[in-house]
């Protein structure tokens, strides 16, 4: 009696079987037959990983239909995954893709497949093979559509799952509980929905997904806590990411004659030209040298526009450049141009724009290691460490004999505090590429990040012996010496680095700042002046000069330099931040009005800007607001170094707000800070002790631990020593001297 409703039905597309209970007996239904089965067999199979769904109240016809539907979905999933299987031969993959394509024609099947595949990141070996896979898939429209989405969203998926793991760790849910919860959420398409909301930066959708799932499931309190924590983490990472707003079609595109004017391009930079079409016959006739000159000019122009904050023009010029290079079939050079521009966009802190540029470069150069490494670097600079790690691993898997991605991966591991792993990886690179100094110098950086400055110095010395003619290694040694206060020796090594490479402006800046730290600010300024005579517009030199001037209280002179830089490059963020710092020192009340919220911070520079704002609040006598802002921001800050700096600022704000907890805050992680930061912290800690009437402790700290010869710090130290001796210095009202404020901005 086909119309009778059957109350309990288990259906599995994976097993291509349904079990139903009728007249106190169990039956198994397959495409071929219906046979009675024992209840234990049902239980075995239903609990056996076949992914059975419990359905209720179906007629036999409906069970049959449900089985067919489930089987098609499961087959579509399996076939799509099998296409990705590197162990399958090309001919097998073609067979699989052909079958998958038929099934993926149905949008519900596509949806099911995407729900599943976009619930966990693909293994690196699969993403690394994406281009050869897509070559197969491109013959089959629906497979190509699904795989393109899967591959494109991998970096975001890595981030979503990284947040999920953090939440699971935070809540402390058991492995079995987590597995069960995940399984249910995958079935519900939860992760894909969260991923989509994240990609689209749609907070409303995200919240509604979480609420729907919270209401829809019978969750334990721990599971609910996990979901809510996950929501919070995704929310904050969404707010942090500033996507590049793609231009509206027609606004920036110069379309070629004959191009479909109504068809919006998917890519803002891609000219709608056939690949071998030149923009004009004249362009086609340019010889290689002329073409290079033109490209160089265009690139410089785009860079200028990026730094002048004229993004629409930069976009237009990129489009023109691509039209020119692709029109000449210079695809390889087009990739190089895009990589070059990506670096500039990063320098201009245009992270979303950089991301778009490099994604396009990857598309044009699917086998270009520089493009893929640069993409990973863009992700790192955006603080998307899980995605960056996966991207570096992908490059390593594709280009195992190259050092850049290995060093890049170590850098990300360092950023997320996995110091041992980073060091191990670098040692592996050192062993495989003993002639390449980069990994050796990077390991010094890892030790510094751990606060192991003496060990870092020892290694830097060993490296300098190993690579005696490498100027970068020499400058790393100089930096290590400077960090432990051995300024005279550092100075000698900076000079040796400069003797090895007179063009490297970083060495000049390093030498000048080292001299300044040694207490010889005037000499440092004179030193910079010497170089500025021949290179008056060299921005890093101007920046360094302004920084020194700022720290010795010559705010107007510093301001003048920052303004002159910004006149040429309004988007040069270090100068923007420098100017803000001067504003904090000169007029904190006004500076504190330029509110910076932690929601939209990605790069390290962004976080420096936020910290400057927090110091402005303290200086403007609004410490409570500073505390609130920092406390809300700290958990969201992915940069470990910036977190330490924020803690220093938090301690200062708490001190200003007369909170005894400031002492605890300022002591946090003190030993692992680099020398200048530690010295600054010790000063603030001493000041806090004085405010708590612990003068003797403050004196011990100041006299025994604040040992640097940095003139700015020495001046503050003397001021605080007088205060600890009871002399009238204004201390007690928690006034911060301008020297202290400058130190708070810099440290």
């Amino acid at each position: 009696m086909g119309w009778e409703m059957i109350e309990t039905v288990f259906v599995s597309g994976k097993d291509a079987l349904a079990y139903f209970y009728e007249d106190e007996k169990w039956y198994s239904l397959s495409a071929e037959e219906t046979i009675p089965v024992s209840a234990s067999e049902v239980r075995r199979l239903v609990n056996g990983g076949g992914e059975y769904y419990l359905l209720r109240g179906l007629s036999k016809r409906e069970i049959s239909d449900a089985l067919v539907k489930e089987k098609r979905r499961a087959d579509a999933l399996f076939l799509t995954l099998a296409v990705l299987d590197e162990q399958a031969s090309i001919s097998t993959r073609v067979l699989l893709a052909q079958q998958a394509d038929d099934l993926l024609l149905e949008s519900s099947n596509r949806d099911f497949v995407l729900k599943r595949i976009l619930s966990w990141p693909l293994p690196t070996n699969v993403t690394a093979a994406r281009h050869s896979l897509m070559q197969i898939a491109n013959t089959f429209n629906h497979v190509a559509m699904v795989l393109k989405e899967v591959f494109n969203f991998q970096p975001d998926l890595h981030e979503v799952i990284a947040r999920w793991r953090e939440s699971a760790e935070e809540v402390g849910i058991s492995q079995a509980g987590l597995s069960s919860l995940r399984s249910e959420l995958v079935d519900a398409g939860f992760f894909r929905a969260v991923l989509m909301a994240t990609v689209e930066r749609n907070l409303h959708d995200l919240n509604s997904i979480i609420v729907t799932n919270l209401l829809g499931g019978n969750w334990s309190p721990q599971e609910r806590a996990l979901l809510l924590d996950f929501q919070r983490r995704i929310q904050s990472s969404m707010k942090r990411t500033r996507e590049y707003e793609k231009p509206k079609p027609g606004r920036l595109f110069k379309r070629s004659p004959g191009a479909d004017q109504n068809k919006p391009s998917e890519d803002p930079f891609r000219p709608d030209l056939p690949s071998n079409e030149c923009a004009s016959p004249q362009e086609a006739r340019l010889n290689a040298f002329e073409a290079k000159q033109r490209v160089d000019k265009q690139i410089n122009c785009i860079k200028e526009m990026l730094f002048r904050d004229r993004l629409p023009l930069a976009e237009k010029y990129v489009t023109d450049l691509m039209r020119f290079q692709l029109g000449r079939d210079d695809q390889e050079y087009a990739v190089m141009s895009l990589c070059n521009l990506t670096a500039s966009a990063l320098d201009a802190n245009r992270l979303g724009f950089a991301d778009e540029l490099i994604k396009y470069a990857m598309e044009l150069g699917p086998n270009d290691i520089v493009a893929f490494t640069a993409r990973a670097e863009v992700l790192r600079r955006r603080g998307k460490f899980a995605a960056a790690l996966a991207a570096f691993e992908e490059v390593i898997s594709r280009f195992p004999a190259r050092t850049y991605p290995l060093n890049g991966k170590a850098n990300v591991l360092k950023e997320i505090g996995h110091f041992e792993q980073a060091a191990q990886l670098l040692r592996r690179v050192q062993s495989d590429f003993p002639e390449d100094s980069v990994a050796f110098n990077e390991e010094v950086g890892v030790l510094r990040s751990q606060g192991r400055h003496k060990a870092a110095l020892q290694l830097a010395v060993a490296n300098a012996r190993r690579f005696p003619l490498d100027p970068v290694t020499r400058s790393v040694l100089a930096g290590s010496l400077s960090r432990v206060g051995r300024y005279a020796e550092a100075s000698r090594h900076y000079q040796q680095a400069l003797a090895l490479d007179r063009t490297e402006v970083r060495f000049i800046v390093g030498a000048a700042l080292n001299t300044h730290s040694a207490g010889a600010s005037e000499r440092a300024l004179r030193y910079l002046e010497e170089f500025l005579k021949t290179s008056p517009t060299e921005v890093p030199l101007l920046q360094a000069k302004a920084q020194i001037l700022r720290s010795i209280g010559q705010f107007s002179a510093a301001k003048g330099i920052y303004e002159s830089i910004l006149r040429g490059f309004p988007r040069f963020i270090p100068a923007v931040l420098g100017l803000r710092a001067v504003a904090v020192l000169e007029d904190p009340i006004v500076a504190a009005e330029n509110k910076v919220t932690h929601d939209q911070l990605e790069s390290e520079l962004d976080w420096t800007g936020f910290r400057t704002y927090a110091v402005a609040l303290v200086a403007a006598d609004r410490p409570r607001e500073a505390i609130q802002a920092i406390e809300a921001a700290l958990p969201q800050c992915p940069w470990l170094g910036q977190r330490d700096r924020l803690k220093t600022t938090l301690g200062i704000a708490q001190m200003k707000n007369n909170e005894p907890t400031c002492i605890q805050t300022l002591q946090t992680n003190l030993e692992s800070l680099e020398d200048r930061q530690r010295q600054a912290r010790l000063l603030f800690l001493s000041h806090a002790q004085i405010e708590q009437n612990r003068q003797s402790i403050a004196r011990v700290l100041l006299s025994r631990m604040v040992t640097t010869s940095d003139r700015g710090i020495q001046s503050i130290k003397e001021h605080l020593l007088r205060a600890s001796a009871g002399k009238n210095t204004g201390i007690g009202k928690v006034d911060l001297s301008s020297g202290e404020l400058e130190l708070a901005l810099a440290a």
């Binding site: 106190e24 239980r43 239903v46």
Partner: protein, 244 residues
Amino acid sequence: MKDALDRRYREATERAAAKGAGAQAAELDSAGSSTSAVVCMSLSRAKEFIGNETTLYSTYQLQVRSSVRQASEPADDRMRLSVDSTVHGTYGEMIRYAALSIDGLGPASYGEVSLKLRDIAVASRATVLEQNSWSFVQSRDLFGKELPPGYLATWGERNKLVCAKLADLLTPKTSSSEFATLILTQATSRSEEEFLEVHVYGAFNMDSVESVSGPSNPTKQLDIALVAWLKDKLDALGKTWVGK
């Protein structure tokens, strides 16, 4: 138990010899020693099991109950549990069921793909029952009772059980090519299939598999793709695919 099996074995081979089939009984004895444990599954299941090297062939009770949270506990489930406990006592849930086979093919009603297990993977943890345990217990009404002695053999003595069960069917004309069918009789329905059941204690994965048999010329397009993929996977795993 061992004495009883020895007695059944001896008596069966003597009866075979008495009717002139002694040589056949000796051949069957030898063939019984070279039998393998075979598990069968559908093509769908096989792709899951073979495709994922970490998948364990486990008793379903023990696998993570992740798919259905509201799995019911039907009343007549007690029957099967009784069979398990009659044969295996408290460790019934640890047992994986397989069939004894000479040619690597298992009972087709359980699925068109047969996985032949490596001898070394089962030798120290398998016993063999004369018949499918469900039929064995039910036909003899053994619920809650002890198993009759002589019907269960260790893996090393499975040849004796094979002879004890099948020697009476031998005639002087029986050829060794018929042994495969005698040991495992295929049928269109599960109830008519006849085989010796292997009970393997504990889980196993693809590492325990020696070879896989499956359809050599599937007709459906989807199955053609699946079989091609299975062959590639097995090749990558260093296992043999045997088309049937």
